[in-house]
């Protein structure tokens, strides 16, 4: 049978100061881990939430983003009537030609940031069917009117319905606010496609087209058709695939965060190790007594490992609590893929909480292993001799 659990808990409480210092170190590392992972989850989740499984985004061949894509009206006309494209009740193909451009927008409190001004036709709301106008109305495509994503309101000036702001070469009036379901569209401003073309002097070119596929569409065949049809000659990709590629920033952030957490963890492991070595040294006689009473070497090792684990998991839980207020907090981050600023919220998910506890446990085991092994290998006679 194992050495009782209460022995470890009470021993930790007995050494309040050293336990608290080590726990604080581990808690801090876990808090950083949770914050970074929540940032990654929020950022990546926002980008991934942008796509619909039945939508396909069409770009110029070789382009990886809308920013680097352009195609002509004739190409668009050729793809618009493909049989794989769903139609609305009026028989209109659900295809949205789009022209996202980067423009500087004034922030609340001063300064300007790149944001996406997306030129679309009114049919865009049928193609991007997760987007809802929650305040005001849709813009009039023949006027300098815009609708803005709800995430813009927290960060940028003059975004309320009825306000006006300068963007690009013109002044635009806000006539509506839209909710894109926490996707990256929430950080965009939408205006009439032709107005944006005029403002940016792009001519009759589009950067992308988003089409809604009929149910049961053979996606690879459609992609081939888009590429191989000499009138079209474009590349298609489902929206989930496209936005997964866009979330490379999230993956890089994750790697960076993991690296920082790992470096900090090394420090915390040494702190835990130091605490446990001190515990073993201070309790040498107790170890000798337990061994003399008949507890096996592995029971002693298990007991000290458990103690380190209890310390680390309790500290990990404290770290999670420390980081929890970040959940739901809004932040904006530059996305160098689209050269624009993306607003999103930190997301502390259950998976992150579990990962954080496992991370803490790992630190506990790593920090406790060698001291516990030392306790196990201690000679009973030598241990009892130390009074």
């Amino acid at each position: 049978m194992a050495i009782p659990f209460k022995y470890n808990v009470r021993s930790l409480l007995l050494r309040r100061l050293s336990t608290a210092i080590t726990a604080a170190g581990i808690a801090l590392v876990v808090a950083v881990f949770v914050i970074v992972m929540a940032l990654v989850a929020g950022f990546g989740g926002t980008i991934r939430a942008t796509g619909s499984t039945d939508n396909m985004i069409v770009l110029r061949k070789g382009s990886t983003t809308e920013t680097g894509s352009a195609f002509s009206l004739s190409q668009f006309q050729a793809l618009k009537f493909l049989p794989q494209i769903r139609r609305d009740a009026d028989g209109q193909p659900l295809v949205s030609p789009e022209l996202p451009v980067q423009v500087l927008m004034a922030k609340i409190g001063g300064g300007r940031e790149n944001i996406v001004l997306r030129g679309v036709l009114p049919i865009a709301l049928k193609v991007h069917d997760k987007i809802r106008i929650v305040q005001g109305r849709m813009f009039n495509p023949s006027l300098n009117e815009v609708i803005v994503g709800k995430a813009m309101l927290r960060r940028y000036a003059n975004c309320a319905v009825g306000s006006s702001f300068r963007l690009g070469r013109g002044t635009w009036k806000v006539v509506g606010i839209f909710d894109a379901g926490a996707s990256s569209f929430d950080s965009e401003v939408w205006a009439g496609l032709h107005k944006v073309q005029d403002d940016t002097q792009r001519g009759a070119y589009y950067a992308s087209a988003v089409l809604k596929m009929r149910p049961g569409t053979n996606v690879p065949a459609l992609i081939s058709r888009l590429a191989d049809d000499p009138r079209i000659g474009l590349q298609g990709e489902t929206e989930p695939d496209y936005y997964r590629d866009q979330s490379v920033v999230a993956a890089q952030l994750r790697k960076l965060g993991m690296l920082v957490a790992a470096i900090m963890a090394v420090g915390a492991i040494f702190a835990a190790m130091n605490t446990m070595y001190a515990a073993v040294a201070a309790r040498t006689q107790e170890i000798g007594t337990l061994r003399a009473l008949g507890f096996s070497p592995s029971a002693v090792m298990g007991s000290f490992l458990l103690e380190s684990l209890i310390l680390a998991i309790a500290a990990g839980a404290a770290g999670i609590v420390l980081a929890l207020p970040i959940n739901g907090l809004s932040i904006a981050l530059g996305n160098y893929i689209t050269f624009s600023t993306l607003s999103f919220q930190f997301r502390v998910t259950m998976a992150i909480v579990i990962q954080a506890l496992l991370f803490a446990a790992l630190m506990g085991v790593a920090g406790g292993f060698f001291p516990a092994r030392q306790a196990m290998k201690m000679s009973v006679v030598e241990a009892l001799r130390r009074t």
Partner: protein
């Protein structure tokens, strides 16, 4: 006397290595302790008293020779076997009590029982009984720091007897106690020997012990110098008590 031996040491030598030096703690000791006896091992510091006790208790190994306890050759057991064997057969009493400071008297006494298949309720009964034997049933929820030295040693004795071991080994059990507490502890050990017929081997410097034990094994420089019967009064008292018990 025809008594069976509870403990036998056959030509036991124990050599410790300290850096470049070899220290011969025991040198060819042969001795036996009959079952049910209360004996003391006495001698000057460094004479090998505690080494003999550690070998009997199975917490140390002889460099050569054999140690048999209760008919089992301890010196041939593996570390794991020894741990289990100690839990079943040996009750240990230390000079500084060696109670776990974060556990209550009850929890300290319960520790050896955690190595047995007893249920929680059975463990409770055993611990309560052991603490009653040492007169501390009313202090079971006290922590060691809340007890006097004599009381701590009584808890340690309760811990030593709670598993009903064959042999109790006590290393200087009165070494850290005042005169009155020392007498009480020696009397308690004698009572355990008489009432429960436990074989008790005690290492001590305390001359008072001679009034309580039946035999004294004298060690000098790692060699058994002789075995002396204790004072006649102690032997008479032991015999009288035995006859009362039987």
């Amino acid at each position: 006397m025809g008594e069976s031996a509870a403990i036998e040491l056959d030509n036991v030598t124990r050599i410790y290595k300290r850096d470049r030096f070899e220290i011969r703690a025991l040198d060819g000791v042969t001795m036996s302790v009959p079952a049910g006896r209360f004996v003391a091992i006495m001698g000057p510091s460094g004479s090998g008293k505690t080494t003999i006790l550690n070998l009997i208790a199975g917490i140390d190994r002889a460099t050569s020779g054999h140690v048999s306890v209760g008919g089992e050759v301890v010196s041939r057991m593996t570390e794991r076997e020894l741990a289990g064997w100690r839990a079943r057969h040996i009750g240990l009493v230390f000079q500084f009590y060696n109670l776990i400071p974060v556990l209550t008297a009850f929890e300290n006494v319960e520790l050896p029982l955690l190595l047995t298949p007893l249920k929680k309720s059975e463990r409770f009964e055993h611990v309560e009984a052991a603490l009653a034997v040492v007169g501390l049933a009313d202090r079971m929820h006290h922590y060691p720091r809340q007890l006097s030295g004599g009381q701590e040693q009584r808890v340690a004795i309760a811990r030593a007897i709670v598993t009903d071991p064959t042999i109790i080994v006590a290393d200087e059990p009165t070494g850290d106690l005042d005169a009155r507490s020392a007498e009480e502890i020696l009397a308690l050990l004698r009572d355990l020997n008489l009432q429960f017929r436990k074989t008790i081997v005690m290492v001590t410097h305390d001359q008072r012990a001679e009034r309580f034990v039946e035999s004294v094994y004298r060690l000098d420089k790692g060699v058994l110098a002789g075995v002396e019967p204790a004072r006649p009064a102690a032997i008479d008292a032991a015999a009288a008590a035995r006859s009362r018990v039987s």
